[in-house]
Amino acid sequence: MSDSPPVAGDREVLITRIFEAPREQVFKAWTDPDELAAWYGPEHMDAPRERIRIDLRVGGRWELTMVARDGGAGEFSIGYTIVELVEPELIVMRSDLMPEMGMHEPTVVRVEFHDHGDKTRMTLSDGPYAAGAHHAEAGYNAAFDKLAAVIAG
């Protein structure tokens, strides 16, 4: 597994990973639709290439749809807007609001790529996720892009 530190507080996920690949390649895995399609979807789900849209610029969109494999029920689309971009060092994306589903506050995924020669140290933060009961709705909905894995499993 990994030596990633635990969740920081209860509102944000923090992950650190070392990948056996140069920084450009890891960055590309996040930002090239062909690459993303190969790994992003959870087990039993696919993130089909034709349903990935990445407009790699500040203000651009980062969207994909996860589809159940083997004709299983359910698909889930996620969408982000790129708010910071430093190739190949940093990408920061703000999740779409889905007020019709009770998601009134965005979450921010921040991925940093640190150059270690033929290795890359990647840090990821994702949040904030609501903790209080009055935020349950938002937390609930913010989590939907992860439900797919559970459903498919």
Binding site: V7, V26, E137, L147
Partner: protein
Amino acid sequence: MQTDQLSLTFAALADPTRRSILTRLAEGEATVNELAEPFAVSLPAISRHLKVLERAGLIVRSREAQWRPARMQADPFDDAVDWMQSRKQTWEARMDRLDAHLRRKGETDE
């Protein structure tokens, strides 16, 4: 909360109509007719959705009143939120796949 209950909860949430129904019920109890209003689906279809939500423990429906209004049940909801706050696991699994992808790629390139 048992995994099986979580599976039920999440399966119930997999459907956008059911999520919308829950969002509506978060504001207060409602009858099938009221719930069906914003959707282009039949009352029996809404009733089926409510059954799924009820089975998942996400809503309760009054046994007494003629119209059996539905209301949201907070417990599995909160459990699901708690569980979801550990999105970390999902990200970790995703990073495992990214790692495997990059390794595959590295082998191909060599």
